[in-house]
């Protein structure tokens, strides 16, 4: 419960934050703290310098673009996503999911950036940003580089963000009128930790033209499921298609979920199929929600 000795600084600009991160091998950015403070309290990892970026205005904006995409600052909180008219307009699912993360107090501080960068496999937003085909904008002292969400999550608490960089924002493309996204979790209790979870994106009017299916808590990082996606593409956008496609999940796809107090690997493998099906189903049902 009590932290080890640590230093703290609150830079006034992103540039200063990057300098601070570069100055110490054991520096880490601190945003909402809802993951990182826990990590420090439980002494699971050691940080020598906390660089507080939570008040940097340029990281806290929700910028809708003319093409319907949305650039969301890394320090935008779950609560802000839930209540943002801009987010609800074109990406209601993001607001819905953010609005059901744990509880109000956590939502008032937890940030989309923190949720993605402190990549605990049970975190809510990584599979969703992957399903939405988001681009993660990573800023270093040299500038901003774009990392597709699919390539962002490397493993348990490990992402594409280097030690002297921060995640600046996430760009979520427009959903479009013939596309929809879905999200389904099997949790321990209401709005609580996931046992297994899936997020899906389906595009196509009547026939599925493109699909993305993402599973999480099936290993150290969220993963796409090409097997199921393949069985969706080119098929009619029906419940039957989704059911049949979901049978690819858990069958020789190399999923290695953990066994812990909330479920065995075998159970998670079986449930991965269930949540994948439900998420894809929802994606079809919610098609056109974001379109104009």
């Amino acid at each position: 419960m009590l932290l080890e000795s640590v230093e703290y600084t609150r830079p006034a600009t992103v540039e200063e934050a990057l300098e601070a991160l570069a100055s110490d091998d054991d520096a880490a950015p601190l945003a909402g703290g809802q993951s990182l403070i826990n990590v420090l309290k439980n002494r699971v990892a050691s940080v020598a310098l906390l660089v507080d970026i939570s008040r940097l205005e340029e990281l806290r904006r929700v910028d809708p673009r003319p093409d319907g995409s949305l650039e969301i600052g890394a320090c935008v909180t779950y609560d802000e996503l839930d209540r943002s008219a801009e987010v609800r307009k074109g990406h209601a699912i993001l607001a819905d999911v953010a609005g059901r993360i744990e509880d109000q107090q956590i939502r008032n501080r937890g940030t989309i950036g923190g949720n993605c960068c402190l990549s605990d496999p049970t975190n809510n937003l990584p599979p969703l940003v992957m399903a939405l085909g988001a681009t993660m904008n990573v800023q270093g002292r040299e500038g901003v580089r774009e990392v597709p969400a699919d390539d962002f999550f490397h493993g348990y608490f490990a992402t594409a963000v280097e030690h002297d960089e921060i995640l600046r924002s996430i760009t979520v493309p427009a959903l479009g009128r013939d596309a929809g996204a879905g999200y389904n979790s099997l949790t321990i209790g209401g709005d609580s930790k996931a046992i297994v979870r899936a997020s899906a994106y389906v595009r196509g009017d009547g026939t599925i033209e493109d699909a993305r299916v993402v599973l999480s808590v099936v290993g150290p990082r969220p993963i796409r499921h090409p097997g199921m996606e393949q069985r969706l593409r080119g098929q009619p956008a029906t419940a039957e298609t989704v059911s049949r496609a979901s049978e690819a999940v858990g069958e020789g796809d190399g999923l290695e979920p953990p066994t812990d107090s909330h479920g065995t690997a075998d159970y998670r493998r079986r449930m991965a199929r269930v949540v994948a099906r439900r998420a894809a189903h929802e994606a079809i049902a919610r098609g056109g929600e974001g379109g104009e």
Binding site: L2, N42, I188, K193, S261, H262, T264, Y267
Partner: protein, 828 residues
């Protein structure tokens, strides 16, 4: 004396006080609320003393190991560290704790810190004291302990095997106690029954009420007076005194346990005495007060868990007409690594030997084992809960297997209203009840026929199933501690009691202090209600001391707040003291008003001559005469009144028979009947509660809203344990839950709307007709197992676990091929 049906045990009937009426029975809002609502309560971690240091325990990461060495030098060298304490020092300075068990279990040598061996993950090895919490925490990591790991045993049945690793060399075995309880003739019953239902194994899992406030204390061993002051949230301070006093060499009159507000305890905070003993020594060594805050991870690992129990080879003789004759079972109870209240649990379950039913032939072979896990403590429902679940699963499974209607089978086998007071096969007397009516009310509250219809309408292929469950339970209250002699005939304990003190203060103000340590049970309020009735004042005029102070409050050895007894023992003591005070007030008033005593009435804070209201004297006047105007009283009167009345309520118990294992073990038996409808998702095993109702009977209600609040809380705890909360160890004895992420304490989204209905069958044995309640009896465990069973198929395995989180339910719905059902029926 009233004869009970078999005539073997008699309990004296008590006429309930006629004075209770105006305030008792009302839902008077609580006195306790104001300070809590304003953030002005005083919990143990709020305490502060000048010069105090902050303590942190160093705990073993291993489940079983020899301690090779403990080196505190690096910790002591850290700036800001005041002192350390190790097991080696403790062994020199203290005596081992008193043990309840007879030999060999009683040979356990336990000190407040581990000496020679650690026996569970979390076993305290050393203490560090520093000038801040943070430094104490940092210093604890610098204590170097060298361990030689030993094999661990975590299964309670395996622990009893002769080849299991032995935890305590002085005991020589992990069987801390063993006994056979045998009543009637179960072998005859098994031979002559029309059917025998055989259940392989039932398992009651480990969980805990996890009070929101962890343990905490500020302890000061005063070098000047040798008084040891312990400001803590221990909930049974007299038990703690009895154990740690001799260990520390401190006489009772030099111990000062104090507490004001306690943030929930549920039995867990009975078990903090070993830590407190360590803190006392640390305080003396360092020459300063010691503050200890237990963090949640420590609490989960070492504060104490509820009993885990395994039932094997259960055989149930049943007649074709549905009469259950009894049952035979082998029970293994897991006490964890030390006996911290065990093996008392090995007899306490027998307060409810036949559960709610008229079983006559009962055979329980009971083994108490030690394992490399956290020591168990009397968690809410202590030991009766585990046994009641067994009886409920038995009835539920029999109904299921033999095709009896679940409602009719229960009603047929219930103890009937006309049977009370009912003597059980082992001589306990159930005071009162009406189980059939309670069941009807609970089923009505959920609209049972509607759920049966919905269940049928829900076709196959819908992906969902509906299950309807029933759970009946008892909350036995006011223990006869003489039952400890059934475990160990050498123990000098028997009966029970609680003490209270009621007085008039200088200006006639009414004051009460109690021997209890409430943790939300509203004792200040209910005590003020009964005193108000007896003294003719309003509860607002009755000041009840908040909290407990060993040097100021009155107490007996059983004082504390635990085991569903306050309404009987605490209020019994309060009523007794109030009656004595009343008699004194009347006596003084009779003199002052020149009337006879039987003409005097107390109303509105005055003593008045009946039918002559002009002749009256306020309590202020009574107090004046006795305290400051005493020469105005005749000498015999002055000598016979003090306006300071102490009373110990003593329930009418005798010492039970340890040979026959018979006797009246508890005075009152509250009951709860739960009915619920659940929806199960066939694909995932997820269980949602659609409807939930409780019919509770705790005799006469002193404060209905407070009782209902206790029912809600017990229900939430039971639902939590049934579906969400479990403490599990891996095979190396590593606890898999260390936070509320893994141990999912139920939130407002998990606990459904709970409907409550009341049945009131007053107890004939208590001064107020009330029965203790509060623990509840764990009926959600019974009801939810029953509901899940009801949703399964006829050839599904039986629900054999108390904990049914989603995966387990999934496995019941989709058992792997070759999985046995866990039950067999032999019919003649």
């Amino acid at each position: 004396m009233t004869q009970t049906p078999t005539g073997e045990t008699t309990v004296e009937r008590v006429a309930p006080s006629e004075r209770l009426g105006k305030w008792s029975g009302q839902s008077v809002p609580r006195k306790e609320d104001r300070r809590h609502l304003q953030g002005q309560a005083q919990f143990a971690d709020d305490a502060w003393q000048r010069r105090m240091g902050y303590a942190h325990f160093v705990r073993s990461p291993l489940a079983h190991a020899r301690i090779v060495s403990v080196d505190t030098s690096k910790a002591e060298a850290l700036p800001g560290v005041f002192a350390t304490l190790t097991g080696a020092e403790v062994r020199e300075l203290t005596e081992p704790f008193f043990q309840i068990a007879p030999e060999p279990g009683g040979n356990i040598v336990e000190y407040c810190l581990a000496v020679d061996k650690v026996r569970y993950q979390g076993d305290a090895v050393a203490l560090v004291l520093a000038e801040s919490r943070d430094i104490a925490r940092d210093a604890a990591e610098l204590v170097e302990v060298e361990y030689e790991p030993l094999p661990a045993v975590v299964d309670t049945v395996a622990a009893a095997e002769p080849d299991a690793p032995v935890l305590h060399d002085e005991v020589g075995t992990n069987v801390a106690w063993h006994g056979v309880y045998d009543y009637g003739d179960v072998d005859w019953a098994l031979e002559n029954a029309d059917h025998v239902v055989k259940i392989d194994r039932l398992h009651f899992h480990r969980f805990s009420s996890t009070p929101l406030e962890c343990s905490a204390a500020v302890v000061n061993w005063d070098a000047g007076t040798d008084m040891v002051a312990i400001y803590s949230n221990n909930q049974m301070p007299m038990f703690a005194s009895l154990v740690i006093g001799p260990s520390l060499g401190v006489p009772s009159n030099k111990l000062q346990f104090r507490s004001q507000d306690i943030g929930g305890a549920f039995g867990i905070k009975i078990g903090s005495y070993p830590q407190l003993a360590g803190l006392c020594l640390l305080s003396r060594k360092a020459g300063r007060p010691v503050k200890w805050t237990e963090y949640r991870a420590d609490h989960m690992m070492s504060a104490g868990h509820g009993n885990e129990r395994v039932f094997l080879d259960i055989e149930v003789p049943v007649m074709s007409d549905g009469t259950l004759l009894g049952f035979k079972v082998r029970a293994f109870d897991d006490a964890g690594a030390y006996l911290h209240y065990e093996p008392l649990g090995a007899v306490i379950w027998s307060q409810v030997t036949p559960g709610c039913y008229r079983f006559k032939h009962i055979h329980v072979d009971y083994t108490e084992t030690l394992t490399n896990k956290c020591p168990t403590v009397p968690n809410r429902g202590y030991s009766r809960l585990q046994h009641l679940w067994l009886t409920e699963r038995i009835v539920d499974i029999v109904a299921n297997e033999l095709g009896f209607d679940p409602v009719e089978l229960r009603k047929k086998n219930y103890i009937q209203p006309e049977d009370y007071p009912y003597e059980t096969p082992n001589g306990c007397v159930y005071d009162s009840g009406n189980l059939p009516k309670a069941l009807d009310l609970a089923l009505e509250a959920i609209d049972y026929p509607k759920w049966r219809r919905r269940q049928q309408e829900l076709g196959k292929g819908s992906g969902k199933r509906i299950g309807i469950g029933i759970g009946t339970t008892l909350d036995s209250g006011t223990n006869n501690f003489g039952q400890s002699r059934i475990i160990n005939p050498g123990l000098p304990f028997s009966g029970n009691g609680e003490a209270a003190y009621v007085k008039l203060d200088l200006y006639g103000e009414v004051s009460v202090n109690l021997g209890t340590t409430p943790q939300g049970q509203s004792h200040e309020t209910t005590a003020s209600q009964v005193v108000a009735d007896i003294l003719g004042v309003s509860p607002d005029d009755v000041h009840v001391t908040a909290g407990f102070d060993q040097r100021h409050n009155t107490y007996v050895a059983f004082s504390g707040t635990y085991a569903s007894q306050f309404a009987v023992t605490g209020l019994g003591a309060t009523m007794g003291a109030a009656e004595r005070l009343r008699a004194e007030i009347v006596k003084v008033a009779a003199f002052a008003l020149e009337a006879s005593e039987d003409e005097i009435e107390l109303e509105g804070g005055q003593a008045v001559v009946r039918d002559d209201p002009e002749r009256s004297i306020p309590f202020m006047g009574i107090a004046n005469l006795v305290y400051s105007n005493v020469a105005a009283l005749p000498p015999e009167l002055a000598d016979s009144v003090s306006l300071n009345s102490r009373h110990t309520y003593r329930p009418p118990f005798e010492v039970p028979d340890p040979e026959a294992k018979r006797g009246n073990l508890t005075l009152t038996y509250a009951s709860q009947t739960h009915a619920c409808a659940v929806e199960i998702d066939e694909e995932s095993g997820e269980v949602s509660i659609l409807d939930y109702a409780v019919a509770d009977d705790c005799g006469r209600l002193i404060n209905p809203t407070i009782v209902e609040g206790q029912v809600h809380g017990a229900t939430a705890h039971g639902i939590g344990a049934a579906l969400y909360e479990a403490f599990e160890y891996d095979e190396d004895g590593q606890l898999m839950q260390s936070s509320f992420y893994e141990y999912h304490a139920v939130t407002s989204l998990d606990v459904p709307h709970i409907k409550t209905v009341h049945v009131e069958t007053p107890s004939p044995f208590t001064p107020n007709g009330a029965k203790g309640m509060g623990e509840g009896g764990g009926a959600p465990l019974h009801a939810l197992c029953s509901a899940i069973q009801d949703a399964l198929d006829d050839d599904s395995p039986v629900v054999s676990e108390t904990h049914n989180a989603w995966e387990r339910v999934y496995r019941l719905l989709h058992p792997d091929p070759g999985t046995g059902r866990g039950v067999a029926v032999e019919s003649r």
